[in-house]
Symmetry: C3
């Protein structure tokens, strides 16, 4: 298949039916070239601080992307052979790339395939498909390009017309890379977000040491409840000064609690002593979501909650390779009872914004849209993670819109560390949203001019407003 063309059809992902497609095309034209607002992601701020060139094709596109290597792993390809983990260092990156190329058919029908094809075609100008035969051509083309100035991080950031890009850091992070960016005179807007899981989750690796580090950084005694809260307030203020407009919370469940101050203090004493049972750890995380909401009401940071992932499901893989190796698996997630303590206390606050994500699609129409269609403080994040995909986005709009409308959602965010694919991801979302809107127009459920307004809101205005950017 060496000579087969790699094609990115201009109508890709738009509805096929001709009247609907015509409407979708017109809508897409309105949003295609809007700047990218990327208010939630996991790129490395060091890239933009140092502006050092990216390495080779495997190092850039294969080894850090667990969407990609998990699929290869699922079909029996060892992570070591892909250059991942100890034992992987000695692997020739070209060989690793060859494994991806030879097995690229596994990605048929997946979003990874679409994102990668976009990067291959649009960024690197490749015009034949990736196969075993074209593996070296790809490897060389990409690796050579990466050495050129126009493929450095800042150049790509500008070429991609990213208006703002947010990374995610621990409260223990000194934000030195963000400081470097700010000091550099470069005009790219790269912000941080406050992700306090390492100092909030008693079950996080290193939690006890993290409390000590928080005390050191803040000068507060973070072994006392009041000192601990003050430590958070201080770091949040620091993050805000460094440009952060949001916090981000990745908890196993959506549980929240609203304990009395003495109860909270007593619970923290147990947690801080390293004696929390799993139930107490869960209750502490629950209480801390409510505390964080209270602080957000004070300091204006938008709050993001991402629950429902069973982390590191594959125990033996985790022991050998560590976190983020494709074995985080979603679980059924309950929101209605879980969020009530927090929402009863703060849900009616118009000045507060809580953006809620789910990995459990069954909650879209049953729980999330009804909650977001009622509580002033609540907005729904886009279809997330495994659902950051054409079918996933379609189901999100189909199941959410009738109850919550469009304006209780916050448009798209990419949630990625795969920097090169960011425009491809936003482009997928814009196409799918335009296709959904086009169907509403074609079925006479919305006027075309309204749909055009909504399309622009979803692609640009809503994320900008929701994240206060």
């Amino acid at each position: 298949m060496t000579n087969k063309a790699l094609s990115l059809d201009p109508d890709r992902l738009l509805p096929v039916e001709s009247r609907t497609r015509a409407i979708a095309r017109a809508l897409y034209k309105e949003v295609r070239d809007l700047p990218i607002i990327s208010p939630h992601g996991h790129t490395d701020p060091a890239w933009f601080a140092t502006d050092a060139p990216f390495g080779n094709a495997s190092e850039l596109l294969l080894q850090p992307d667990h969407y990609v290597f998990r699929m290869l792993y699922s079909q029996g390809i060892a992570l070591e052979a892909l250059g991942i983990g100890s034992g992987g260092e000695s692997v020739d990156p070209r060989e690793a790339w060859g494994l991806l190329a030879a097995n690229y058919y596994l990605f048929r029908g997946t979003p990874s395939r679409m994102w990668l094809d976009w990067v291959f075609a649009e960024v690197f100008g490749l015009d034949v498909r990736l196969t075993a035969e074209t593996a070296d051509l790809y490897y060389d083309t990409i690796t050579e390009a990466l050495a050129r100035p126009e493929f450095r991080p800042r150049a790509l950031f500008e070429r991609y017309r990213i208006e703002v890009l947010t990374t995610t850091e621990s409260p223990l992070d000194t934000l030195e890379h963000h400081q470097t960016i700010r000091d550099s005179g470069w005009r790219g807007r790269v912000l941080t977000a406050y992700r306090p899981d390492p100092v909030i989750d008693p079950e996080f690796e290193g939690f006890q040491a993290n409390l000590d580090r928080l005390s050191e950084l803040t000068g507060e005694d973070c072994r006392t409840w009041q000192g601990y809260l003050a430590g958070h307030r201080q770091r949040r203020a620091f993050f805000a000064r460094m440009g952060a407009t949001s916090t981000d919370h990745g908890h196993p469940s959506a549980a929240t609690a609203d304990l009395s101050p003495p109860e909270a203090e007593a619970l923290f004493a147990v947690v801080s002593a390293g004696r929390a049972t799993p139930a107490q750890a869960e209750l502490f995380r629950a209480q801390m979501l409510t505390e964080m909401a209270g602080m957000s009401l004070d300091d204006g940071l938008v709050m993001q909650i991402h629950p429902g992932s069973f982390r590191n499901h594959n125990t033996s893989l985790f022991e050998r390779f560590g976190r983020d190796k494709g074995a985080d698996i979603p679980v059924a997630t309950e929101y209605v009872r879980a969020l009530q303590p927090l929402l009863s206390r703060y849900g009616n606050e118009r000045e507060l914004t809580i953006i809620l994500f789910t990995l459990d699609e069954t909650a879209y129409s049953r729980e999330l849209a009804p909650l977001a269609g009622h509580y002033p403080a609540l907005r729904l994040g886009p279809s997330w993670w495994f659902h950051d995909s054409p079918e996933g986005m379609r189901r999100f709009r189909e199941q959410v819109t009738e109850t919550a409308g469009f304006y209780n959602t916050v448009g798209f965010n990419d949630d990625t560390r795969a920097f090169l694919s960011i425009p491809a991801r936003h482009d997928v979302a814009r196409r799918i949203d335009c296709g959904f809107l086009a169907r509403l127009v074609a079925e006479h459920r919305m006027e075309e001019e309204e749909a055009a307004e909504v399309a622009v809101d979803l692609a640009y205005n809503l994320p900008k407003q929701a994240y206060k950017l």
Copy 2:
């Protein structure tokens, strides 16, 4: 956008693909003008008893419709500003209407928008869209029209070609309005349904006083188990004499129980003494569903069960504004184990009809269709509440039909207190069902003449038969 037309396209909601649309149009033509059977709803019988004119636009279309004001509330508009609750009395209804008008874009893609647009265009003849600029035009047009005889409740009932309309009353209701209607000589058929939650749910506000009131009304000692059951039987008979053909049960879960008579009596003693724990309250509700099914087998009333809503989720809002303010949120609902006690006892009875509803769509294909496709007593109610919507209806048919067929469902009911929108709601259901059937025909899964028969059954025959009307 003042001059933009308000359009109700004759093809709205029909499939876009041209062959399918042609089939759908033909099917829709068969059902479009059928009379309305509305066997389950929450309109006020006083409207038809007194035939007094409705008030102004806000009083009719905004303030009583929690679908409408919950969306405005979710975007930060205070209920008081809409004229709802204490503090709301002093609000000029025209101002409240202006808030709806200015924020009408929030309803894009929602069924409320479709229903309201139908009312605006078809009932009030408005031909421009509702916006801030047209707010006064709307308010005046609607409010003036309501003063005219042809907009009185009975006139609209006739104009809407409603063959039968069912309201819902507590066993403690004297049904005086229904008596007035019957005595009036007016030929509109307005029936009641027996909704005993206030005297069955130990956690209902005023439950203890309600038991006393039931004793007074019936002359039975409803503080004894036998007297309590006799009280129900007596009120059911009274409701049946007044035209009722059904009962309706809105429980937090679908739990049923089949206790021995001594167990049931002992449980009632605890409940009647006001000492029921939450678990005992749940068990009592569960037992009473089975008791009600037994009574239905005796007196022929069709039984409706609506489980799965977490009522009054927003505690502070409930304390200030009371029930039904848009904060009832669905929860995951289990049916298979929950219904087994009742179905094991009565599910094989061919003379019994139990119509089951859900707010949890995940049960459609997994639990409800398999149960309804087996038990002779069981039928499925239409997609309900937040799922009374185009996408909701589509998913219902797609997920239910293959296992339960069409004839274990009961067609459409509107479940609304928004009287003016009843024809719009039935029209949406007819269009969506015709669209679904048209797809089956276009995919050669059904013959067109069969589809036409099914379309008429869903729109008219099935609800009439299922509710014994």
Copy 3:
């Protein structure tokens, strides 16, 4: 409607939109005539051993098919009147057939209707629709045909171009029919599969006697843990020698366990003594799944797990008519925590294949696709049972593919005892998969030549590889 044609349109089930349909037609042409791989089902090996003629129309198509009679039962037709159960023997099979015919409209929109229509038209050459008027014509045509040689089991097997057909037997089965087939010189490939539920599930009817029978058959003392495991190993080896390539496990839940050997031995002592509590029975089943996976790693048998059915829900029906009367109802099924013990132990084994099925569609995108898209040992079985249907298959592909791809699924299997409909069932799957692929092509998400390759893989190569056939 006597004279109405029974039509099987060549485009049935393909997408209606013309461009997509053209692509789907081309894809379908590639797979339409591929041989049938049927690696999982419940046909009776005696049919192929004795090659005796099937009986009359009712005995063949109505009485053994609980998909068919459950629908009739759900609408109030007594099982006895259909000739099922005691009291049914005296029913004239022609009368029973007449009831099916008169109520055939109930099956509109169901897969049973499609499968039956295919059998009527393609196998028996009927060209008018089944109605009360044509009941006798149908009954006579089918019953007379069955007496002819070309309608005997082996002749149909060959006419259907079945390359391999797998039945399911208990470890206690002597496989005499399979031996007869092998000895007969007939070249049809009919294999068995090892289904040990009767000797693994302590709650199975006759479990204790089954343990004794297992001891007798194997010469092992299956009242000791080691003897019991050895008994399984021996019977698995016997099944493998008789051609089996797989095992099959139908458990109430997906629970697995990984007990230490002493814990397992102690648990078996309780189970073997008939003293297991429900929780212990569940734990034993859970442990045995892991034991079976370990044995599969040794002997190479592919492992199938089918959890999530609440068996015999209708207690009174079960007491009168026994198992498999249409009252097995799916329940919500959790996989992530349930499978972790087994997957942590064996999930990374590339030589092991575990094929997982579900009756709970909500797990497709949330749990199953993420698990199968990571663990090398795990593959997803097709949409199963109530979801073995056009809409069910569509949802499976839409919800699974983006995360797990196509190659972590195993193509189609029919899971049926309704032998005559096997080609119809495979044909439905091929049409739906081609339709799904055609949409991906039409939306420019896949190239047409790739789709053709995937279509052939799904219809033929993947089941053959996954089941080692």
